[in-house]
Every structure is written in structure tokens, then in C-alpha cells.
């Protein structure tokens, strides 16, 4: 194909296609770049910065940066690993993430990344912010304690469901996910079958009454660490 180009990730030359992002090209080549806000069904926004790589000497979010022929990319350097660890760490302390009784435990991308990065306890002080639980919807629970502001729900509702249920509101530390309803999620047109109900990487948006139906040992990341599906395609 005429669009085929070559890029180098951590010294390994791989093939890529023009129009791909670094993340997409790396995925195809079986190289895992950690990510949280990125999702294959959604347009990337480069928000969480967990996928930060060094591209030709400059830090870039791999989920939004398009590939160019001859690009030299650093992914698994000690500096980048530490940088990603710091970001994940901050996400834990900025919310109220209690894995021990969270039903997303074992299926949670944030928790899985922490395990992958060997984070056993946060290095930053807990903020213990006051957050709300919105249980007004009959089938969906919105627990702001666990939100990491990835905005997957905002995009999924708009791009995949053709709705506009969620919106980022506020600035800085006060930024949060709001709903386009009179008061709460129960006032919106969200349905349990919406993609937005199923796309949260953490336990913020969960389907009600599912809880702990999947036993320990059979959850997604009980079987293999996050990223191993991508690394598994490596030739």
C-alpha cells in the first residue's frame, strides 16, 4: 500500500499506515502503550496523558499524534514509566477509589494499570474529596467518587448513542461530569443499553444490580494483566 510508512518504537522498526495514530500503529504491531481515556470506538482527545510517549524528542499523547514516516518514538523508558505512574497515582488520590469494595475491581482499567505499574500504595496524599452518588436512574448508577474525567461517557453518548447525556462541567479541581437533565441522571434519556453505560474504564458508571456476580478469579484482569491482549499479537 502506498500509505505504508516505517516508524521506530523503543528501537524496533515497525510498519504503520498514514492516518493512524501512534497508539493505533503500536497496537497493530503488538506494542502496548498504556491508556485510559482512549477507546477504540471513540475519537481520541488526549486527555488523561497516560499514553504519553516521547516522539522525536518531544512528549506527545500517542492516542492523538498521527504517525509520520521515520518517526522515532520512546515508549518504555524509565522516565516515561515514572511519568505514567505519577499520573495514575494522582487519579487515585484525587478521587475516592476503594478497590476493596468496588464491584469494578478486577475489571477496572485504573486498578489494572496500577497493578501493571506495581503501585501498591499512593505516593501522594489522599485528597478525600466530597463526591456525590447519583442513583436516580432505575438501571444505572453514577458514582462520582470513582470518576477519573476520561470523558469516555461524554463521547460515547454523543458519538455512538446519538444522545448528549454527559458533559464536562467546572474547571480545574472542580471539574466533573454533569448530566443534561433537570437534576440527575434519572431525568435524562439515557438507557441501560446505551454504549455510554458500558464504556467507563472505572466503577463510576455501572449497571445496577450486577454487583459481584462474577467471582474472583474469573474477572477480566484476574486472568491476564492489562495490555497483554495487545502484546499477545506481537509476532
Amino acid at each position: 500500500m502506498s500509505d505504508a510508512i516505517k516508524i521506530t518504537i523503543d528501537g524496533k522498526e515497525i510498519e504503520a499506515q498514514l492516518g493512524q495514530t501512534i497508539l493505533e500503529a503500536a497496537d497493530e504491531a503488538g506494542i502496548y502503550i498504556p491508556r485510559l481515556c482512549s477507546h477504540p470506538e471513540l475519537k481520541p482527545i488526549g486527555s488523561c496523558r497516560v499514553c504519553t510517549v516521547v516522539c522525536d524528542g518531544r512528549p506527545q499523547a500517542a492516542c492523538v499524534k498521527p504517525v509520520m514516516d521515520g518517526m522515532v518514538i520512546e515508549n518504555e523508558t524509565p522516565e516515561l514509566l515514572q511519568h505514567r505512574r505519577n499520573i495514575i497515582d494522582m487519579m487515585f488520590v484525587e478521587g475516592n477509589h476503594f478497590c476493596m469494595f468496588c464491584e469494578k475491581s478486577g475489571n477496572c482499567e485504573l486498578q489494572a494499570l496500577a497493578y501493571r505499574f506495581g503501585i501498591t500504595a499512593p505516593q501522594y496524599p489522599f485528597q478525600f474529596p466530597e463526591k456525590e452518588v447519583d442513583a436516580s436512574h432505575p438501571d444505572i448508577l453514577l458514582d462520582h467518587n470513582r470518576c477519573i474525567m476520561c470523558a469516555r461517557c461524554v463521547r460515547a453518548s454523543q458519538e455512538l448513542d446519538g444522545k448528549n447525556v454527559f458533559q464536562s462541567i467546572g474547571r480545574g479541581f472542580d471539574r466533573k461530569i454533569g448530566v443534561n437533565g433537570e437534576k440527575a441522571l434519572g431525568d435524562t434519556d439515557m438507557a441501560v443499553a446505551d454504549r455510554a453505560a458500558d464504556i467507563c474504564p472505572v466503577g463510576c458508571i455501572i449497571k445496577k444490580r450486577v454487583g459481584f456476580e462474577v467471582p474472583v478469579g474469573e474477572r477480566l484482569y484476574d486472568k491476564a494483566p492489562i495490555g497483554s491482549d495487545i502484546e499477545g499479537v506481537r509476532s
Binding site: 469494595f101 464491584e103 452518588v133 442513583a135 436516580s136 454487583g211 459481584f212 467471582p215 474472583v216 478469579g217
Partner: protein
């Protein structure tokens, strides 16, 4: 009027943290003893607003010792919330197996690691020897048995709940897994050895009690009411049943009470010096309505035990009191070992039941707003009571944990020991030891009783009526 006060803090080899104060009157006689629970966690408040299906996993974090009891009591309450009164056979039996595994490991831990030093070395032995390390050195076989029995119970918990501590197995309306053939066969391989060790443990507890009956009969002992769940036919049932309360001589105060209405029969009183509440039987009032729970009360309250060896042991136990309830505090240990054997027999019975390999795990029903779950935890009757709103959020939680039920009895046991062994205004080593032994008979879990945390060292203070501390001893 002046009284003096003795304080023992921290109390050792019990689960949690405690402090004992002994108050003296003007004549230097013991006027009252108080076991203070000085930590506070407040689970009842902070689970408000959480979704109901999360509670069995959340609330078990009260404790790392018997989380299964809280897990199952909450799950039973949440069965009611989802309108399920009868579980599928697989779900019911998996939960029972989890519970007997829990009872097995907890009783083994308590007897071998916490209590056996007192029984094997005597109350007055040097504390440097009178501990689990001393047991391991002098009675290595026994120490290994204790570890292996605890491990067996813990492995059963893992196979039924997913993890040895703080699992997720019981979900509202059922269970999330069955028992595989491989898991079952792994347990069947060792069950006969476990039961053999149960018999040996029971013999140690029984022989000890009978040999020392003269001293033990009035060692922190007193007549009391007893409360326990019993099955509809009066059998001991540690997982499910109706409430029965009996007097110290065995007359029934109430019987076969559906625990959904427990609050019509049991009330709680708050006292300023402890975070732990004082429950009592409403019809008798706080003065005489207090009661004991746990192994002693369960063996006293039931009409029979439905496993043969434990039933024979129960008859043996009651023969020393002519079939009447046994009110000797130190007899808790003997009763606990009868339950250990019963749990072993029950585990064997369940492992041989093909229902454990069934695949029908969940039942469904119509949502309700309020429900109560009770279970006989290792330390006694455990009450969980919840209200849940139409958005699925918990709006009210009331927990009466086993140790809380034993609050007044533990205070009386300490008082009795202090009256007998305190001389002058000094806390002797002998007094310190005996206060600890009396408290330990109840296997108190002070962490869940106050919903508090931490290790439990012991402080005793002796104080006069003016509030002056006369003496203070610490063991950590």
C-alpha cells in the same frame, strides 16, 4: 463517697483493643469493672447512600477475623431486599460451607493460638512463655494442628467466597460460584484428619474444664440468660434459624421468633464510657434482660445437634449440670470445641452433597425496602438490619455484633474476677492475667464490636472514687 479505679489496658490476645477500669469504693472493695471500648469506626453511618448489592462486600471490612460472618449476615439481609426468601439448594449449601469453614478456622485459631497458652501453662505462668510461641516450642504438634486446621477452614472460604479474606461469594439472592469437583476432592482428602483433630481438641478442652472445675466454677461466672438462633425443630443451626432466649435455668423467655422482628424483643442501651452498646431482652428490661451469646449459649439453647459426634459431646457437656444450662464462663472453651467438631462434621456432610456442583446459583423476587439478616457467627448471634430506598441506596443500617451482645457479661466476668483476686490497691500480675483470661473466654472481637480497628494490647487502671489513678499496668 470515694471510689478507687483500676485500669487494664491494653487487653491482650483478644481481637481488637480494650481497656479495663476497676472502680473501688471507700472500703477499697471492687464496686464495678468496666471494659471500655475506646475506638470508633461508624460503619452504620458511612454505608448510608451506598447501593445495597455492595453491602455484603463492603461491610465485611469491619473485621479481618470473621469477615465471612458479616458478609453472610449482610447477604442474608440483602436476600430479603431482593425479595428472595428461599435460595437455590446450591446457593444455600455453598453459603453454609463458607460459614462452617469460617467457624472452623475461627474456633481453631482462638483455641490453639489465643487460649491454649492459658490452659497448657496455667494462668500464673510467665507471660514470656504463656503465648503461642511458647506453645509452639513445648507442644509443637498441637501448634501445627492449629495452623493446619485454620488453613483448612481458610481454604474452604477461598473456594466458596473467592478469597480467604474479604471474598465476594454471597450476592443478594444467591452465590456467584459453585464448588468444582477438584476443589471438593481436595477437601475430602483431608476432612477425616481434620475431624480427628477436632476430637482431640475437644478432649483437651473437656479434660481441662473437668480437672479445674473447682476453680473455674466461680471464675468470673454468673447466671445469665442465653440467646441463640435455633432451627425450627430446635436443632443447633449456625447459619439460619429463629431466635430463642432462655433463662439461666433453661426456661424459655421467647422461642422461634422470626428475626425480621428482632427489634421487638431486643433493645440496646448506650453508656457514656464505651462506644459499645449494651443490648438486652426488652421484656425483662436493661437490669435483668442482658444475655450471653456464642458457643456456650448455643450449646445451652439448642435441643440437640444434628451431627452425631457433636450431639454426643453436647450430652456429655450438659451432664455436669444435670441437663440444665451451663453458666460457667470458662465452659465457653469446651462449648467452642463442640462446635468445632460440629463444623467439621457439617463440612464433611456438605462436601458429599452433589448440590454443591449445581449450576442454579441465583433466585429472584420482588424488591422490598427493609430486611434483617442474622447468623450465628463464631462469637455469637450477629444482627444486620438495613433499609434501602427506591433508588437502591441504603438509608439505615443497624448492626448488633456478637461481642456487643456479650458486653454486660464481659463486664460482669471482669468484675467477678477483680472481686476475687484484687487485694489492696495494687494490680498484681495474677490479677492482670485473670482479667485477661476471663475476657478471652468470650473470644471478643472488639474491632467489630465497636466497628474499631487495631491490635489489642491491654491496660488496667485502678482508680478511686475521686478519679485518682492508684495503679496502672500495661501489657502490649
Amino acid at each position: 463517697m470515694t471510689t478507687k479505679k483500676i485500669t487494664i489496658e491494653p487487653v491482650t490476645r483478644v481481637e481488637g483493643h480494650g481497656k479495663v477500669t476497676i472502680l473501688l469504693d471507700e472500703e477499697g472493695q471492687v464496686s464495678q469493672a468496666r471494659l471500655h471500648i475506646v475506638e470508633f469506626r461508624g460503619f452504620e453511618r458511612f454505608i448510608q447512600g451506598r447501593p445495597y448489592w455492595e453491602i455484603p462486600v463492603l461491610v465485611q471490612r469491619l473485621c479481618g477475623i470473621c469477615p465471612v460472618s458479616h458478609h453472610l449476615a449482610a447477604a442474608k439481609a440483602m436476600d430479603g431486599i431482593v425479595g428472595v426468601d428461599v435460595l437455590t439448594p446450591t446457593a444455600e449449601k455453598m453459603r453454609r460451607l463458607m460459614h462452617y469453614g469460617q467457624m472452623f478456622q475461627s474456633h481453631a485459631l482462638h483455641f490453639f493460638h489465643l487460649v491454649s497458652p492459658d490452659l497448657l501453662f496455667g494462668f500464673d505462668a510467665d507471660p514470656l512463655e504463656r503465648n503461642v510461641i511458647g506453645v509452639a516450642q513445648k507442644f509443637p504438634d498441637l501448634a501445627v494442628q492449629g495452623v493446619m486446621m485454620r488453613k483448612y477452614g481458610q481454604e474452604i472460604i477461598k473456594a466458596t467466597a473467592g478469597k480467604k479474606i474479604h471474598g465476594t461469594g454471597a450476592v443478594p439472592g444467591g452465590i456467584n460460584k459453585n464448588l468444582s469437583i477438584e476443589e471438593r476432592d481436595g477437601f475430602l482428602k483431608d476432612i477425616d484428619q481434620m475431624i480427628e483433630w477436632c476430637r482431640a481438641s475437644l478432649k483437651i478442652a473437656k479434660d481441662y474444664t473437668l480437672e479445674h472445675i473447682g476453680e473455674l466454677a466461680d471464675f468470673g461466672s454468673f447466671d445469665s440468660n442465653h440467646v441463640s438462633l435455633v432451627r425450627e425443630d430446635g436443632a443447633m443451626d449456625l447459619y439460619h434459624g429463629n431466635l430463642r432466649a432462655i433463662t439461666s435455668t433453661g426456661e424459655k423467655i421467647f422461642d422461634q421468633v422470626d428475626y425480621q422482628g428482632y427489634f421487638k424483643y431486643i433493645a440496646e442501651e448506650v453508656r457514656s464510657w464505651s462506644y459499645m452498646k449494651f443490648p438486652f431482652i426488652s421484656s425483662l428490661g436493661p437490669e435483668t434482660g442482658w444475655y450471653r451469646v456464642g458457643p456456650l449459649s448455643r450449646v445451652n439453647a439448642c435441643d440437640f445437634i444434628d451431627t452425631p459426634e457433636a450431639e454426643a459431646a453436647r450430652k456429655d457437656f450438659l451432664s455436669i449440670t444435670d441437663g440444665k444450662p451451663n453458666n460457667i464462663t470458662m465452659a465457653y472453651h469446651w462449648a467452642r470445641m463442640i462446635e468445632l467438631l460440629h463444623s467439621g462434621e457439617k463440612i464433611r456432610e456438605l462436601l458429599n452433597d452433589p448440590d454443591l456442583q449445581g449450576t442454579d446459583l441465583m433466585a429472584k423476587g420482588e424488591r422490598r425496602g427493609e430486611s434483617v439478616g442474622l447468623i450465628e457467627a463464631p462469637r455469637g448471634t450477629l444482627f444486620h438490619h438495613y433499609k434501602v430506598d427506591e433508588n437502591d441506596q441504603v438509608t439505615m443500617a443497624n448492626l448488633i455484633v456478637s461481642t456487643t451482645n456479650n458486653n454486660t457479661p464481659m463486664n460482669l466476668a471482669v468484675e467477678g474476677v477483680a472481686r476475687k483476686y484484687l487485694s489492696g490497691a495494687e494490680i498484681t500480675e495474677g490479677l492482670l492475667n485473670r482479667v485477661e483470661v476471663a475476657i478471652r473466654a468470650y473470644d471478643p472481637c472488639l474491632s467489630c464490636a465497636t466497628h474499631a480497628m487495631g491490635q489489642m494490647p491491654l491496660v488496667i487502671e485502678l482508680e478511686d472514687a475521686a478519679g485518682n489513678t492508684l495503679d496502672r499496668r500495661v501489657r502490649g
